[in-house]
């Protein structure tokens, strides 16, 4: 089940990946225009206008980078409405599906593992939920993953164009949220060390280091700074941009929720990334009833994304197995997958302030890749149990689809209420809605 030979025997991997991508697009876009806007959606639109037209990064997440504002402003101008607010999340959420497949493939885990990883991301209810919102957390599922894919392609082929592409994607990722730098950074460090240890003259190594540095530091930096063009248009210089980032970093490192949006103790919320992969994780939005809005029932509407527990909770066992294989059998594929996962997750897990489940979108591609790798390997020895587990996971994803897109059915409610804290499904737990 692994290796290029097995891949070629299976025929058209591109078609399978295309089918998964189309599936991802279909479930991310179906009924999107009719799904009521959350408070975040509305604020994302207002912030895009404020930032692009005035350089004022309010009211949504002034302490995070601003790529979303530029993109959403553009799509609001082009198509307006719910699609204008959410189109980029749909697009980048969908593209994260082939991106994770290409990542797993590039690391040598084989076609089944790459398709499984793509399937996990495509069908994950948490990923689906955030792919249908204006807020930009799902951008973090795509840009870093794609940046690492381009970097690995460069590592294989040594064509500078791939490195330039990686730098551009890294810049866009960091311009979405700073956390994008963690997995790409660890991958870049590994490639840099490899390149500097490779046989060759000193001049060749110096040229390699210069190319890596310019493409993976200066280029992303320039891309990042350019996303602040409207803010700079308020008369600011680069020194002031640096000082502004000091304030952003301070807020980000001490953040306890934006004023009026959180209750003391965060009842019903999963707070703390160290809990991820140990317990089920969810993110629940509440849309209160509004006069004249028939799409919202009298009791309000919950939109609940729950990471598929059968995949989610398999992450740490898969990580442990990958670690064991890496250390004992020098399994480079396992090592890379583990490193990428840890680089994406550990900085969040160690953060002393609350980290909410929306940040898990930056880790989900790497955790899915790890679980897919482990499942594909286990399948070689335990075909039936792995297939049963996969079928159960897909069934669970299907059951959790309805609450993730703002619909609700009774069987789904039962599953949802088993997995999610009852407090999360209380309107009073959502003061900012």
């Amino acid at each position: 089940m692994t290796g290029a030979g097995a891949d070629s025997r299976r025929g058209r991997p591109g078609l399978a990946l295309l089918a998964l991508t189309v599936l991802a697009l279909a479930i991310r876009s179906a009924g999107l225009g009719a799904q009521p806007l959350t408070g975040d959606d509305a604020s994302v639109g207002e912030t895009a206008r404020n930032f692009v037209e005035l350089g004022w990064p309010e009211p949504t997440m002034w302490n995070h980078p601003r790529l979303r504002d530029l993109l959403v402003h553009l799509s609001l101008d082009l198509v307006g409405g719910a699609w204008g607010l959410r189109a980029w999340s749909v697009i980048l959420g969908t593209l994260s599906v082939p991106a994770v497949a290409l990542l797993v493939r590039a690391l040598g885990a084989g076609l089944p593992a790459s398709l499984l990883a793509a399937l996990f991301v495509a069908a994950d209810p948490l990923h689906l939920d955030f792919s249908r919102q204006g807020i930009n957390d799902v951008y973090l599922s795509f840009f870093p993953t794609a940046a690492v894919v381009a970097l690995l392609r460069y590592r294989e082929r040594r064509r500078p164009g791939w490195l330039v592409l990686s730098g551009l994607l890294l810049g866009l990722g960091v311009a979405s949220k700073w956390g994008a730098a963690f997995p790409v950074g660890i991958a870049a460090a590994a490639v840099m060390v490899e390149a500097l240890r490779a046989p060759g003259s000193r001049r060749e190594r110096a040229a390699e280091a210069a190319l890596l540095a310019s493409c993976l530091t200066l280029l992303p930096l320039a891309v990042y700074v350019l996303t602040y063009w409207p803010w700079l248009g308020r008369g600011h210089g680069l020194a002031e941009l640096l000082r502004f980032h000091g304030a952003m970093a301070f807020e980000t490192s001490t953040h306890l929720g934006y004023p009026g949006t959180k209750l003391p103790g965060f009842p019903g919320e999963v707070v703390g990334a160290w809990r991820w992969f140990v317990q089920p994780a969810w993110y629940v939005d509440y849309i209160p009833p509004m006069p004249g809005r028939d799409a919202i029932p009298p009791g309000g509407l919950f939109v609940s994304g729950v990471a598929n527990p059968l995949v989610w909770l398999a992450t740490l066992p898969a990580a442990a197995w990958a670690g064991q294989r890496w250390l004992r059998q020098r399994d480079a594929t396992a090592g890379w997958l583990l490193l990428l996962f840890l680089a994406a997750w550990v900085p969040l897990a160690l953060a002393p302030r609350p980290i909410w489940t929306n940040s898990a979108l930056a880790v989900l591609p790497f955790s899915s890749a790890l679980v897919a790798w482990a499942a594909a390997r286990l399948h070689q020895a335990f075909r039936l149990p792995v297939r049963l587990w996969l079928a159960a996971a897909l069934l669970l994803s299907a059951l959790l689809w309805a609450p993730a897109v703002g619909l609700s059915t009774r069987p789904t409610d039962a599953v949802l209420r088993t997995l999610v804290s009852p407090l999360a499904l209380e309107p009073s737990s959502h003061p900012g809605s």
Partner: protein, 247 residues
Amino acid sequence: MREEPGAPVTARARLIWAGAVAALALAALAAAEGHGRGSRRSFLPRPELRGRPVAMVGSAADAFRVWRAAGVRGRHLLVLTGQWSKPRSLEAHPPAPAEVRAARAGGEREFLDAESALFTAARVGIARSLEVVMPPSAFTHRLGEVAGLKELERGDGTFRLPFNGFERRFSTPRAFAAPMEPVLVLVEPTWFAEGAPADPLGWLSSEGVAFDLALLALEDPAASEAERRAALAFAQGAGAPFLEAAE
């Protein structure tokens, strides 16, 4: 779908790529710096000011309208005042019909009054930072109001309190440090209290402050009758003409 390996990329070619990418990135950074500095707009002298960049206005809201009508942008705003206002909650205190009519007549997208004027000046990009100088008792009162905020950075007679990254610095006259570039000045009536220089413009000059426009407001939300009279007397003594807000 597999890419065929071509001729190996030489060290020289890699260096050329590295140099090209670095040059492009540095050019982008230089363009960003130029865009920022080039976006600042000064106040251009108007005939009714008779060569002096000093004028009277009704309140901070009128000052905002003057700045906006003049196309001023991206400036350090220096405010001499004894009070600090926040924009009122329009849900708790909705504007009166007359206020709504006035805002519409002025073509304003948002409701504007003396309490919200500085915030709005920041929001729309007239001010890119705010420097507030207060008489000692007002400064102490203001510091007490914000003492528990995590963003607060205290100094000797000064404190820095950015609002969501927007730079705001507060100081007493004694601890005031002149900004490095020309500023817009707004003086409010509550400035004319004990411990503040009675001639604010002369004091600013002695501190080395350069300004392209100083507006003397005759009203602010906390001013007493005596302070209003003092403000008017100072403005008249300075020969400041009254600028009608552009509505």
